[in-house]
Subunit: 311 residues, 2 copies
Amino acid sequence: MNDISGLFGIQYPIVQGGMIWCSGWELAAAVSNAGGLGTIGSGSMYPDVLREQIRKCKSATVRPFAVNLPLIYPQVADHIQIILEEKVPVVITSAGNPKMYAETFKTAGCKLIHVVSSSKFAIKAQDAGCDAVVAEGFEAGGHNGREETTTLCLIPQVVDAVSIPVIAAGGIADGRSMLAAFALGAQGVQMGSRFVACEESSAHDAFKQAVIAAKEGDTHLTLKEITPVRLLNNPFADQVKMAYHSGATNDELKALLGRGRAKKGMFEGDMIEGELEIGQVSARLGHVFSAKQIIDQTMMDFKAAVQKLSL
Amino acid sequence: MNDISGLFGIQYPIVQGGMIWCSGWELAAAVSNAGGLGTIGSGSMYPDVLREQIRKCKSATVRPFAVNLPLIYPQVADHIQIILEEKVPVVITSAGNPKMYAETFKTAGCKLIHVVSSSKFAIKAQDAGCDAVVAEGFEAGGHNGREETTTLCLIPQVVDAVSIPVIAAGGIADGRSMLAAFALGAQGVQMGSRFVACEESSAHDAFKQAVIAAKEGDTHLTLKEITPVRLLNNPFADQVKMAYHSGATNDELKALLGRGRAKKGMFEGDMIEGELEIGQVSARLGHVFSAKQIIDQTMMDFKAAVQKLSL
């Protein structure tokens, strides 16, 4: 057991990333039951849906789980109220400053992790009172930092900058990449894309199949002027590229993005018109597994990789 | 000793990247004398200069060293002739297909390494008869792959795709990042930026100082439509950014880039008008060290990191 496992009361220092439209209670409970920290992604949920998801998760696992809370979402106050009422053990905040909420969570006995993309934000998170940070590199799927620092460069910098435990994210999908993160000084890993292509994920099966079919170079970071996001290449992503090439304004890009694109792609399975958020590491995924298979295999490969290095 | 050390007859599996304007014979000989594989970067040299550099290197070290050979350069045939005549022990080709030259080098007893940015190119290099590949990620300085795959994602993919040894490059500057590369299956590392900020590097001191002063987010990958290159932010890089924002054509970008920009910046120390090629990992460098200090410290930290992981 290391600091991350002890801090959150989990068996293995593996956090499942909270992902819109992919990580409901089934995935979160399955990951927690398998010994990791499962996470409900609240970013795609109305408050009443979030409450229902938390209750279902609690009835499906007695182990700790987390709710991911993007702080820029309009209904964040309602979400926080529900998280506190439902006594969620761990909250993972992202996309904003956790400072104004940290005291509330800590008073309620809720552990707080914040997602950062730079050591500057990691220091801010530590100063705000966070228990740990997730440091997420350029290769990660979904929304992403503007500085484009990769996980390999980011983790040692964050580890050196803060004294709280660091959980590495971006490009991690198996035991080898987990060991690489630990070599850099991380004490835990967060895996997102790997858990999209998971039996218990709420992603549409068409999206899961597209994820495991992805090859090197099949994702790219785009919409940097609005909110940087890593997408799987598809006709919608091509439309965005063409808009850039024709010199589209930010307003035109926003109009193209529209509303509901992510739901359409990831949840409803529209591989043409939908927005498909996924990490570079999708190129390394070949099968859809259960959460338990993913965690067991990761730990087995991690131990084998440690042995190999110690020769 | 591992495969890479045995293959090239070196003490430590650390390759110094060949870098235009920064890696002349002084750096190459110093790295080889310290137990790594020093590399003369021929990309910025006329043939007669390359011959002189090789001869000086041979007189300064009895150990193996390499010449980096960008295959797209106009005088590549002259360079190859000189490399063969001077019996250079190792050639590291980049920016092109090594297939048409592999037989020539192998017949002459010269070991051949090719630099790749994808597993597709790694397989081609293996099929061409290369002894090893350098797999270089998005975070690396200088010219870079179009697919933007980061070192953390790239290395396991390349390792799984080929049976020849893989040397990891991009984001590696110390023992921790070297261990991370080994965890991913690499058998050696190549460090570029770390050796720019090195006493024996031929980079201008103003550039060395700018490199060790760099912070997170101070480099970015640009000129993707021409040849992707990672630059340190400076007024010249700002000009390139502004050209993009105003919708410059490729010809206009090429005209802005002009000739001699890299020499002006990296070798002559013009921090305003010069092109400054460097990797993201520059943000992690705080001092200029000798080549021997860099290699000794890297190996010491590597062993300490292995011990820490085995606990």
